[in-house]
């Protein structure tokens, strides 16, 4: 298939380029096979401050996932099980939120975050990033919780279980696959986020990986092997997560249009 070539060849070139020296790349071009292979580019990327970016991104990602895990399950539980009309309105609001692009609110976000004294602070990146992953996570998790059959709730009701106990002993264990999708989704979004960090941080100590890539590109755009090594490094953790949570991710993505 032509399309597979269009996807595969650039990835192959990407990998190959990171393993060659810059002069070799400049002289022989990206498509030729390198004269000898080296890992120096990766080492350079790390000594160039990429390690700090890595840690910052990790902090942002972990916090976003934690926030999402704290907020979304009770919300989804209420949406699926509450009879109150208000939860219907809440659900529709979140669905609308799916279509509100981060760009649309970036100016007021800058205003709010500056006024709150969180400018150039990782927390100022974490909060909006988490907020903007809520809609999709809610959609995924309500989908999972709807698959729990009414009979199970009835059985617990007969035992006189409180909503709290139903939530812990029935809803959470049975929506495990939905939960893992939510974790993968929010982690991916936080890890790859660019706009919020670009606008809401400025110093090196709060720089995340995507910004690091962007800066690298503006400063040493010609050093393709170095630049592309950074690209590969930025993807490695995601790749690891993907290998472990492949099923959850794919299931979640396919569920978007499958209903």
């Amino acid at each position: 298939m032509v399309w597979l070539l269009l996807v595969g060849v650039p990835l192959y070139v990407l990998l190959l380029t990171t393993l060659r020296t810059q002069s070799d790349y400049a002289n022989a071009g990206p498509l030729s096979f390198p004269s000898h292979l080296t890992l120096q580019n990766y080492l350079d990327a790390f000594s160039g401050g990429f390690g700090q970016d890595f840690v910052n991104t990790l902090v942002v990602t972990a916090s976003v996932v934690a926030l999402v895990l704290l907020l979304v399950p009770p919300l989804a539980y209420a949406i699926v099980r509450s009879r109150s009309r208000a939860t219907g309105t809440v659900f529709r609001t979140f669905l609308l939120g799916l279509a509100v692009p981060a760009q649309a609110v970036i100016v007021p976000m800058f205003y709010v975050i500056s006024k709150a004294g969180l400018y150039d602070n990782l927390l100022g990146v974490i909060l909006p990033t988490a907020a903007f992953s809520l809609p999709i996570c809610t959609l995924v998790l309500t989908g999972a919780m709807r698959d729990i059959t009414p009979e199970l709730y009835e059985a617990m009701a007969v035992d006189g279980a409180s909503p709290w106990r139903v939530f812990w002993q029935l809803v959470l264990p049975l929506s495990r696959s939905g939960l893992s999708t939510v974790v993968v989704f929010s982690a991916l979004q936080a890890w790859n986020g660019f706009l919020f960090p670009l606008v809401l941080t400025q110093s090196d100590s709060t720089k995340v990986i995507t910004l690091g890539l962007y800066n690298f590109q503006t400063e040493h755009g010609v050093d393709a092997p170095g630049l592309l090594s950074a690209v590969v490094l930025s993807m490695l953790p995601v790749l690891v997560v993907y290998l472990f949570a492949r099923r959850a991710l794919i299931q979640g993505l396919m569920g978007v249009g499958g209903k």
Partner: protein, 319 residues
């Protein structure tokens, strides 16, 4: 499942255990406890604070002048009249529409066909779709950086394949830049839509195909008469994602073209960023942002109606 629930139910109801009865909210449904609104409150409050409030603020800010430092000053309709007469703004809307349309036109057929193909059970499918999946894991930033390096006129692929690319400066012309942006967008996003279509195609009942096969319908006819109609909702969902994604393409433009050459790829989302964070005209930027919000919301509302997402509630809620 009825056997499970039937077993404990007929037991003679105990004389209302005090603790359980107190917490129980017996609005129909045989005393099944239900979570109250309080369960939804934390997430809703958080979402309101960081998504809804800024959304309202963007409207307010569009009637002010603000340079990013100090406080916004009321400016009446100034930003809006300026926007109305701004040739770059009008051009940016056209460019957004063009890029979005290109995205839908290029990605839909490819992802539809690939998705339907991948829904089957061929050999090698797992390996092929794994390779195919990788662009989804890369951030838009990484993808843009990668392609910028690969398409560099002096050191990239064009320099080695001049028979295909001419002088190789793809980003030097408007047609070239828009082509590159459309291509890179498709490269990154087609896998996502393929997955969505794959999910949709898997959900099509096999009985329909068996019936069609008995009636002597070939593969092509099956595709047009069963697969396509059955995927109606999937197609709508996917297209909406493409439209919203296309309208808000930003990282790619910032890294690949910086809106250039000139303003030839300055789409609205990028123009908004430029006005705000480069020219420090945050009032004007808010006006552009509000236009974006309105367009995206109108499209999303249309989708929620068309795809039946808002009806999902009634179909599944059984109690």
């Amino acid at each position: 499942m009825t056997s499970i629930s039937a077993a404990p139910a007929p037991a003679p109801a105990p004389p209302a255990p005090a603790a359980a009865a107190g917490r129980r909210r017996a609005r129909g449904g045989a005393g099944v406890t239900r979570p109250g609104l309080a369960w939804a409150a934390p997430a809703t409050a958080f979402f309101a604070l960081f998504a809804i409030v800024p959304l309202v603020l963007v409207a307010v800010l569009s009637f002010t002048t603000w340079n990013g430092i100090g406080s916004p000053q009321p400016a009446g309709l100034a930003n809006w009249t300026a926007l109305w007469h701004d040739p770059v703004m009008i051009k940016s809307l056209w460019l957004s529409a063009l890029l979005t349309t290109l995205g839908v036109v290029v990605q839909t057929p490819i992802s539809l066909l690939l998705g339907v193909w991948a829904a089957g059970h061929q050999r090698n499918r797992a390996i092929l779709s794994a390779i195919y999946f990788v662009p989804l894991l890369l951030s838009a930033t990484a993808v843009s950086v990668l392609w910028r390096a690969l398409l560099d006129p002096n050191f990239g692929i064009p320099a080695q394949a001049s028979w295909l690319f001419g002088d190789g400066n793809l980003l030097g012309s408007q047609a070239g830049s828009i082509g590159v942006l459309a291509f890179v967008g498709a490269w990154q996003w087609t896998p996502l839509h393929t997955l969505i279509y794959q999910g949709g195609a898997r959900a099509v009942p096999q009985v329909l195909y068996q019936a069609a096969a008995i009636d002597g319908a070939g593969r092509v006819r099956q595709f047009f008469h069963i697969t396509l109609p059955q995927l109606r909702n999937t197609i709508i969902t996917s297209m909406v994602l493409m439209v919203v994604g296309g309208l808000t393409t930003f990282d790619t433009v910032l890294i690949l073209t910086q809106g250039g050459p000139g303003t030839d790829t300055t789409i609205s989302a990028y123009y908004m960023y430029q006005q705000g964070f480069k020219s420090f005209d945050f009032g004007g930027a808010s006006a552009v942002a509000l236009v974006l919000v309105v367009v995206a919301t109108v499209i999303s509302l249309a989708v929620v109606r068309l795809s039946g997402y808002d009806r999902m509630r009634s179909t599944v809620e059984g109690l």
